[in-house]
């Protein structure tokens, strides 16, 4: 099991806990969507899995070589071209110069950006930037890929296409993906499993399986989306005063 979370808790200083008693197990090669309203600590949970933050209680098991991470905005370095951004990830991993070049070209080809390799981030559209960021996180060559609302800032057309793209790449590379989102339809579209996180404190309250039928039958997918949305709203209503 690449990721096991046991009674994981996190609080900042003396404040109320952000995460409390989070339990989850994510299998190798699985695509898990982590769903929750704003302020439920989804990003904190992801940061803990990435090793950017430490939990205050509980135990956590992640692959020893760490995880690749994709941020909400692409976080590409503006002084490097698309290719150089991908190459930097390889360089920091210790890949030799000649191999870096070949590998970066392959990865950019994988996200259909071979032609844009020499352009700088500001010359790319939001969707292209996120694809470069995806190529960069794949360059890290980690089994586990953590994604923090990577498509939230994109327009609907681009987002739909990137969903297809991400699904394709997931199947081609066999990565384990944990995908954080506040968009129920996105969670149903992408995840094999959807975990719903409650808010304040964050805790896994329910989970749903998404089958291959849901991928092809919009009616079925719509039904599931409705069910999850209802549960999510129930969770939000709990906080009404």
């Amino acid at each position: 099991m690449p990721v096991v979370l046991e009674n994981l808790g996190k609080r900042f200083g003396e404040g109320a806990p952000v995460l409390d008693d989070v339990n989850a197990t994510i299998g190798r090669g699985e695509f898990v969507a982590l769903l929750g309203a704003s302020g439920c600590g989804k990003s904190t949970l992801l940061n803990i899995m990435a090793g950017l933050e430490l939990p205050t209680s509980g135990a956590l098991e992640v692959p020893s070589d760490g995880a690749a991470f994709m941020f909400q905005d692409s976080a590409l370095f503006p002084w490097l071209t698309a290719r150089e951004n991908v190459e930097l990830a390889l360089k920091l991993r210790g890949v030799g110069k000649a191999e870096r070049r070949v590998k970066a070209a392959e990865l950019l080809e994988l996200v259909h950006l071979a032609e844009a390799a020499d352009r700088r981030p500001h010359e790319l559209s939001g969707g292209m930037r996120q694809r470069v960021a995806l190529a960069r996180s794949l360059a890290q060559d980690r089994q586990l890929l953590l994604m923090d609302e990577p498509f939230a800032a994109l327009d609907a057309i681009t987002r739909d296409l990137l969903h297809d793209e991400l699904e394709r790449i997931w199947k081609e590379t066999g990565r384990t993906i944990v995908f954080v989102t506040h968009n129920v339809r996105e969670a149903v579209r992408l995840g094999q499993r959807v975990l719903l996180l409650s808010s304040r404190p964050g805790r896994v309250v329910q989970e749903w399986e998404v089958t291959e039928e849901h991928r092809t039958d919009a009616g079925l997918a719509g039904q599931l989306t409705g069910v999850i949305t209802a549960r999510l709203r129930e969770e939000i209503r709990r906080h009404a005063k």
């Binding site: 990435a50 090793g51 950017l52 760490g66 995880a67 690749a68 991470f69 941020f71 905005d73 976080a75 370095f77 503006p78 002084w79 930097l88 990830a89 360089k91 920091l92 991993r93 259909h112 950006l113 844009a116 352009r119 700088r120 981030p121 500001h122 010359e123 790319l124 559209s125 939001g126 969707g127 292209m128 960069r136 890290q140 609907a156 057309i157 681009t158 987002r159 739909d160 296409l161 969903h163 297809d164 793209e165 699904e167 394709r168 199947k171 339809r185 149903v188 579209r189 291959e212 039928e213 849901h214 991928r215 092809t216 039958d217 919009a218 009616g219 997918a221 719509g222 989306t225």
Partner: protein, 332 residues
């Protein structure tokens, strides 16, 4: 599992070309019989890898800017020249009113004549060369000292807290204040001049670098950490390039401070083994009560400053900012 398994029709959300499935790619699933359905972004929206690639490439070309052609903008060159010409005309006009004695306020032609005389005797070239050489050498050494110190201060919090206020203070202290001390320590030698230049340039370069580092979006560091950068790699591969715009302003200011400090030092410290620089020329003009020499020296000091800015810093800065997409809409 193949990715081209779903026939799909145009969704209400999709305003792109209609995604009606081509007949030959029909893949049967339990609920389709060649009929099209609405996917509402809940199911796959493209019909396989080739289709996806085509859609993406179409969207990419729609969404990213076409490359603009760069051409020489003459107003950039002609407007500053026009401004100088206007100022000279005003100067000439004022002089021709005859309000002041000519030896106190010489006209543009008088100064030009003095220029010619100084050029002919070679002291103009000597002064410019001596000062420029010192200014540049002093500046380069300052950069070499200030860069590692600045990076260290920016990255190590206790050091920053301890020395930060002192360095900011040094920047406020006019470097002329160091001239008497330097003369006592080093006598009338080049060491005095360089010391004053360092005290002027180093703090401002350090400050520029520190503020450049402070302005780095925190996410860059997170990316560095996630990508597995070591402390040194983080500093050299991520922090330094990210801080480059701030660092460059620090360098510009550092150069300005070197040049000013140098002039101050040359005016005050004259004689000994200190050569003949522009500051010395200015001082000589005062001793001889010759306003044309004074004006010539002032104009030369200004001209060197402008030339260094135009020929060295402006192109570097423009390129740096342009590459990061930061110049669009500015009045440069």
């Amino acid at each position: 599992m193949p990715s081209n398994s779903s026939p799909v029709a145009e969704s209400p959300e999709t305003t792109g070309p209609p995604l009606v499935e081509p007949a030959e790619t029909t893949v049967s699933t339990s609920s389709t019989n060649g009929s099209t359905k609405v996917h509402a972004a809940l199911t796959r929206s493209s019909t396989g890898s080739a289709d996806l690639r085509e859609l993406e490439s179409g969207l990419d070309s729609l969404q990213s800017d076409a490359v603009r052609k760069v051409r020489v903008d003459w107003s950039r060159i002609l407007l500053p020249i026009a401004a100088v010409v206007v100022l000279i005309i005003i100067w000439q006009f004022y002089v021709s009113l005859g309000l002041k004695r000519r030896d106190q306020v010489p006209g543009p032609m008088d100064v030009l004549e003095q220029f010619g005389a100084l050029w002919a005797e070679g002291s103009l070239q000597e002064a410019v060369w001596t000062s420029l050489q010192r200014g540049l050498l002093g500046f380069l050494i300052s950069v070499a000292i200030a860069t590692p110190v600045g990076l260290l201060l920016a990255q190590v919090a206790p050091l920053r807290r301890a020395f930060g206020p002192l360095i900011s203070g040094l920047q406020v202290l006019p470097s002329v204040a160091w001239v008497p001390a330097a003369i006592i320590w080093f006598g009338l030698t080049d060491a005095t001049v360089y010391f004053v230049v360092f005290m002027g340039a180093i703090p401002s370069i350090i400050n520029g670098l520190i503020s450049g580092v402070d302005q780095i979006p925190p996410q860059y560091r997170s990316v560095g950490t996630v990508l597995g950068a070591s402390r040194l790699q983080m500093a050299v591969q991520i922090i330094l390039p990210a801080a480059l715009p701030g660092y460059l302003s620090g360098l510009k200011q550092g150069w300005a401070f070197s040049w000013r400090s140098l002039m101050a030092a040359e005016i005050i410290a004259v004689g000994g083994t200190i050569g003949f620089g522009l500051g010395s020329m200015l001082n000589q003009g005062r001793d001889l009560a010759d306003m044309t020499i004074v004006m010539s020296a002032i104009l030369l000091i200004l001209a060197v400053g402008i030339l260094i800015e135009l020929l060295v810093f402006a192109p570097i800065e423009k390129r740096l900012l342009q590459r990061r997409g930061l110049l669009a809409g500015s009045t440069r």
